[in-house]
């Protein structure tokens, strides 16, 4: 290679490397737009609302006077609804995912099911609300209750749980499966001894990310009839109207955080807007805490799993 050719080669490398840098800049810009938007929103809400956050705010019921109003019934409602959602969505979603991956034959029927599950994740949440109104409230007569809301949100996040389960299962190497089958295991033994334990980190992450979405959902909860003003808590186990049982709270009327916020933002007084900002701040913290939990769980559960 003579000097001239070497020079040409070096010029070409410089030109090619310039594209590396240009794309790097575009990437940073795109990232900044996303991050700045979130930070600005969160900071604005924090500035407006943080003055209202106090122990009283967390332990008071809503009130006509903005200064006395709190979010007790809202956060308790959100937590209880999330509990029902988790208990309904996890077994259903995991069972469906395991069935599709480990039991179902791969043919056009499973292809159609797969496409439909993915499509369900894109259905607007208000549609789930209407479905739940017809099915849970009127057909099953579950009322405008925590149970109805929990089941509605469970339906909403079911596709997320199914997809997360399938992704987690697919990441298990085939040779691990074959090793288990070669020991004489049945499909059920392979699933319960290997597939589910090894994919639990991925499944849990999917569940929590789904829940973090569900906790902020407003439309389907309004559709099934959550109230905007609740000045009491659902009955604790064995304390409600006799004959009191363990699960009376499931059938209690309720409100949740986003609805409480919605209610306050539609008031004309500025003081209520501060309340809404404070509630929003706490709602975002709840979501971040759930995502943090997901990351921690994934780290803990994956620590011992390497192929």
């Amino acid at each position: 290679m003579n000097q001239q050719e070497l020079q040409a080669l070096r010029t070409m490398i410089v030109v090619h490397k310039r594209w590396d840098m240009i794309f790097g800049l575009i990437g940073i810009l795109a990232l900044m737009i996303a991050l700045m938007t979130f930070t600005a929103l969160f900071a604005d809400m924090a500035i407006n609302g943080v003055g209202r956050i106090s122990w009283e705010f967390l332990t008071s019921f809503p009130s006509r006077r903005a200064a006395d109003a709190g979010i007790l019934s809202a956060w308790v409602g959100s937590v209880l609804v999330m509990l029902v959602t988790a208990f309904a969505a996890v077994p259903l979603g995991v069972a469906a995912g395991v069935y599709l991956e480990e039991y179902a034959r791969k043919n056009w029927v499973t292809d159609i099911i797969e496409i439909n599950v993915s499509n369900l994740a894109g259905v607007p949440s208000i549609i789930y609300g209407l479905l739940a109104l017809g099915l849970f409230v009127y057909t099953f007569g579950l009322g405008q209750s925590i149970l109805t809301a929990g089941l509605t949100l469970a339906l909403l996040i079911l596709p997320v749980v199914i997809v997360a389960t399938r992704e987690a299962i697919r990441s298990i190497p085939q040779i691990i499966r074959e090793g288990a089958y070669a020991c004489g295991a049945t499909t059920w033994q392979v699933v319960s001894d290997h597939i589910v334990p090894y994919s639990s980190a991925g499944i849990l992450t999917g569940v929590i990310i789904g829940m973090a979405r569900a906790i902020g959902e407003t439309a389907p909860i309004i559709t099934v009839g959550a109230l905007t003003f609740i000045a009491f808590l659902p009955p604790a186990p064995f304390t409600g109207e006799p004959p009191a049982g363990l699960f009376d709270w499931l059938f209690a009327p309720f409100t949740v955080m986003p609805i409480q916020m919605f209610n306050w933002t539609s008031r004309p007084e500025a003081a209520f807007l501060a309340n809404a900002a404070a509630a929003g701040f706490i709602l975002v913290l709840m979501t971040l805490a759930m995502n943090g939990l997901a990351i921690w769980l994934r780290y803990r559960l994956r620590k011992n799993i390497n192929w």
Partner: protein, 263 residues
């Protein structure tokens, strides 16, 4: 020659493939394979990539049943009870309970060393701690791993080195007292020292159990096996005592492959 063949033919058979054909969908991967497997002997399968040796091995524990569209023809007669391993009336789980397998790449479960070895027993419903303890120790001793792991049975199997992992997998498949052990290129992912220890182990194991091994390494086949089968494009070209196949092959194709003129 006749002097040597006489006692060998009287060896007890462990299994016998009869007119075995195998299909992946419409593709025929094995064509009318006939071959004996002698008890307490090592039989190796050699041949170029894609010749069907792994496919043949995986017929013995019905691994092909895990995937749709696979079909067997013919029979594998399993001694002494003359069960046809390939019969649709025989449950593949029963077959896998009697015939164990060691894979190409070490595949310990992401569980403790102890639980890896105990898994076959747990699948069989064994729950007595003392029985499992004894069998785990015996299997680890047979796999020449006990000394290295006896103080850390609760550690993850994946923490072991590659060669130790493969011996752990051998212990796992030994713990259930199999009648036949299948090895699918067990040393192809290992370094020469680990390979030597696995080969030594296989030579010791044949005192207890029949062994069928696929290897891409002809020297390995020559070192460890009593019988060798040469396969090419789904057919069994030649089967015989290892010395005879390597020194005086009957078929021209075998000779070409062994001498490196082809393959």
């Amino acid at each position: 020659m006749t002097e040597k063949t006489m006692p060998e033919t009287q060896l007890p058979l462990k299994a016998e493939a009869r007119n075995l054909s195998f299909f992946y969908g419409n593709f025929q991967a094995l064509k009318n394979v006939n071959m004996p497997i002698y008890d307490k002997r090592v039989t190796s399968l050699i041949g170029p990539s894609g010749c069907g040796k792994s496919t043949y091995l995986r017929c013995f524990n019905r691994m092909h049943d895990l995937y749709p569209g696979n079909r067997y023809e013919g029979a594998i007669d399993f001694h002494p009870d003359h069960t046809d391993l390939l019969s649709s009336k025989v449950d593949p789980i029963e077959v896998r309970m009697r015939i164990s397998m060691v894979f190409q790449k070490p595949n310990p479960f992401p569980k403790s060393i102890y639980e890896n070895v105990a898994y076959g027993l747990r699948v069989r419903g064994e729950s007595a701690r003392s029985v499992i303890d004894d069998k785990v120790e015996a299997a680890l001793r047979s796999a020449a791993l006990w000394g290295e792991v006896k103080d850390r049975l609760n550690e993850q199997g994946a923490n072991l080195s590659g060669g130790q992992q493969q011996r752990l997998c051998i212990a796992r498949s030994l713990a259930t007292d199999p009648e036949l052990m299948l090895f699918d290129e067990p040393t192809s992912a290992l370094d020469p020292i680990a390979t030597a220890s696995i080969e030594e182990l296989i030579t010791e194991l044949k005192e207890k159990v029949a062994i069928l091994i696929v290897t891409h390494n002809m020297q390995q086949a020559a070192r460890i096996s009593d019988y060798t089968a040469y396969m090419y494009i789904g057919e069994m070209v030649e089967f015989g005592e290892t010395d005879q196949v390597f020194i005086k092959p009957n078929k021209k194709e075998t000779e070409d492959y062994i001498t490196g003129r082809f393959g």
